[in-house]
């Protein structure tokens, strides 16, 4: 009973072969989408103005579609190494590692929108260093303080590129006064 339960609940990993076809189909659909979007503008010859605004991206997208079709044909014929590869495209372990990293960057960007980049950096470093890397509090806190200061000094002070601060902007007014006075 237990074995049967395991067999029925376990999701088989997608093979590289399946991923190759799926990716080619997805990219072909994207190419068609781009062709449709480009065709909203003129794709033919406009008198005295040359090719229409949509011509360049339209024909490039058509080329992309042809390249995807070629990949699909090669998949059916088993020409590419990927079309013959029956190993998993992504193991559960890799998916977890990649998911944590990509997810933490999404978290960094969402918090940047809500609370500004410096609070986001602070929380991102806390999460990555303490909970993912399991580093000591000394290293974690040092990095949480030093990295935002370094980023501020380099980008905002030396290179004069203001970074997004959202609702925390007023907290920086005294520093701006010091910088620009």
């Amino acid at each position: 009973m237990t074995d049967r339960a395991v067999i029925t609940t376990e999701v088989p990993a997608m093979t590289v072969r399946t991923a190759e076809l799926l990716m080619a189909v997805l990219l072909a659909l994207c190419s068609i989408g781009l062709m449709v979007k480009s065709a909203e503008l003129r794709i033919g010859w406009v008198p005295d103005r040359g090719p229409g605004s949509g011509a360049w991206p339209f024909w490039l997208s058509a080329g992309m579609l042809l390249a995807c079709v070629a990949t699909m044909i090669r998949w059916f014929r088993g020409t590419t190494p990927e079309s013959r590869n029956l190993e998993p495209y992504m193991t559960r372990e890799v998916a977890l590692l990649v998911g944590i990293s990509a997810g933490s960057i999404v978290f960094l960007l969402v918090v940047t929108h809500l609370l500004g980049i410096y609070v986001a950096l602070f929380l991102f470093l806390l999460f990555y260093l303490k909970f993912v890397g399991r580093h000591s509090w000394l290293i974690t806190v040092s990095m949480m303080v030093l990295v935002p200061i370094f980023i501020f000094c380099l980008f905002e002070w030396a290179l004069k590129i203001p970074l997004p601060k959202s609702i925390t902007e007023p907290m920086f007014y005294p520093i701006y006064d010091l910088m620009y006075s």
Partner: protein
């Protein structure tokens, strides 16, 4: 000699040293290249005389060209698009514990590239400038077709996937306002962020920053970045002995880089990628390219440094910038009250020759600073992955934000990073997409101008000698893998026939 004496003036010499060091730092920062450094630091040069100012900015330009290789090798992220090709072999070398070898090769090749190009600049400025002037839109477009064909013919990757990569890069470059009619194009979901187009750095940092980190996570499981890193006097000696193995490739790349750099349509990025392709073609072991061949580091580094000098040629002699960085330098010259063009040589000789003299010195100064700090750069790799990864992610996010200062671009960068990683797992080459997004606007403009000028007659590319030559070379490059495949099949069949006989 007068130029060297001018460059050796205490103020000018100090400007060279500070500029080189700053350039190295800026170039090494992912997302920041010479163009950012020169643009941001241009206003502070108004406090010094024009000659010292141009020397300072040229030193930053030079230093950033060297610095781009540092992050390409030690972090796997190109500091700027000009160092994209350096990642191809620099990163595998670093991962195999040979970061010091790759950095030495990059420094030496940059020095050779810089030196050869400065000599060429000094000797052949007038005839080359007039040759570059003959390039019209048809020639520019044909030259770009040749650059793309290099990837198809010599890239060694799956051809339909390479073509897809080139085309998607060109389509991404077309997003935003149409360069001729001003109409909005490919504005997905009517999101305003697409109106200003997609900056090439967004794609480059996404693919080579985020995507590379995800790839490293998969291959190392986050445990180690590099298995072994050693720095010793013996290793340094052996690294210098290595020079003879890539000096030929480096010299060829330097000359190619210089010539490509002089063309306003091209520049350091295509020069470095073309040089990489050439090095791979002429190598005795082309299969080792992309897996850690030191020649694959030296060739693009020599070319991008040579191209940076080359791009100054049309700026000084004709008043036409050869690259975005020289466009800013040109703007600076006008602010300083100078008139760029042929008259500059007679009206302000101390300025021109001081700049040329400073290039010789900056080249040497950057080599010394770079080599002295190689152990420090290599130390970066010994950091635990769980410390290095968040730092790189942060630099990518800030680097992705810096060029346009919109969060929209940072989200796009993340999307490109994840999609690039998923595509890379299926052997889609990503470098052609990066080249295509850089050259896309120029390619479209030159194609449309050519067709408009010829009233839609596409034979315009075949009736002009220079463009016809470029198109023929491009066709030969595209046919090369097919011919190679047929030859191999014929040989195999012959071998089987002989075996049976």
């Amino acid at each position: 000699m007068g130029g060297l004496a001018e460059a050796m003036q205490p103020l000018n010499f100090m400007m060279i040293i500070i500029g080189c060091a700053l350039g190295l730092l800026i170039g090494a920062m992912p997302g920041l290249g010479s163009v950012n450094g020169v643009a941001i630091l241009l206003p502070i040069t108004f406090i010094v005389p024009p000659t010292a100012a141009i020397i300072f900015l040229a030193a930053i330009y030079y230093g950033a060209m060297y610095g781009g290789a540092i992050s390409s090798i030690t972090l796997g992220i190109p500091g700027a698009s000009t160092a994209v090709a350096t990642v191809f072999d620099g990163r595998p070398l670093a991962q195999a514990g040979h970061a010091d070898r790759a950095l030495t090769a990059a420094a030496v090749a940059s020095f050779v590239g810089g030196t050869i190009s400065v000599v060429l600049f000094t000797l052949f400025a007038p005839p080359l400038a007039s040759f570059a002037l003959r390039f019209g839109p048809a020639e520019e477009f044909a030259l770009m077709i040749m650059a793309f064909a290099t990837f198809i013919g010599l890239g060694g990757d799956d051809i339909p996937k390479t073509i897809f990569s080139i085309l998607i890069g060109l389509v991404l470059a077309a997003v935003g306002l149409d360069i001729i009619s001003g109409q909005p194009r490919l504005i997905f979901g009517d999101i305003d962020g697409f109106l200003h187009g997609i900056n090439f750095l967004v794609l480059a940092i996404g693919i080579y920053g985020i995507g590379e980190m995800l790839w490293t996570l998969e291959t190392t499981k986050g445990e180690v970045m590099v298995h072994k890193v050693q720095i010793s006097l013996d290793r340094m000696k052996s690294n210098f002995k290595d020079i003879k193995n890539y000096i030929g490739t480096t010299s060829l790349g330097s000359i190619l880089g210089y010539f490509v750099g002089t063309l306003p349509a091209a520049g350091a990025t295509p020069a470095s990628l073309m040089s990489y392709g050439l090095a791979k073609t002429f190598s005795k072991d082309p299969d080792s390219f992309g897996k850690g061949n030191v020649g694959g580091v030296a060739a693009p580094e020599a070319a991008n440094n040579a191209a940076s000098t080359g791009s100054m040629l049309p700026m000084i002699t004709l008043g036409i910038p050869g690259s975005p960085t020289t466009a800013i330098l040109l703007g600076g010259m006008i602010i300083w009250g100078l008139r760029p063009g042929p008259l500059l040589f007679t009206e302000n000789p101390e300025f021109v020759w001081g700049l040329i003299g400073s290039l010789y010195i900056a080249n040497f100064a950057t080599l010394v600073i770079n080599l002295a700090f190689i152990p420090l750069f290599v130390k970066i790799l010994t950091l635990p992955f769980s410390i290095l990864a968040p730092i790189i992610y942060i630099l990518c996010v800030v680097g992705g934000y810096a060029p346009t200062q919109t969060m929209h671009d940072v989200w796009l960068m993340l999307l490109f990073g994840v999609v690039g990683y998923l595509l890379r797992k299926l052997n889609y080459p990503v470098a052609p997409a990066v080249l295509a997004i850089v050259l896309g606007p120029l390619a479209e403009r030159s194609l449309r101008q050519s067709l408009l000028g010829s009233h839609g007659d596409v034979t315009v590319f075949l009736t002009r000698p220079i463009s016809a030559t470029c198109i023929l070379i491009a066709l030969a490059l595209i046919c090369y893998p097919v011919i190679q495949k047929l030859t191999r099949r014929r040989r195999r069949n012959l071998g089987m026939g002989q075996g049976q006989g």
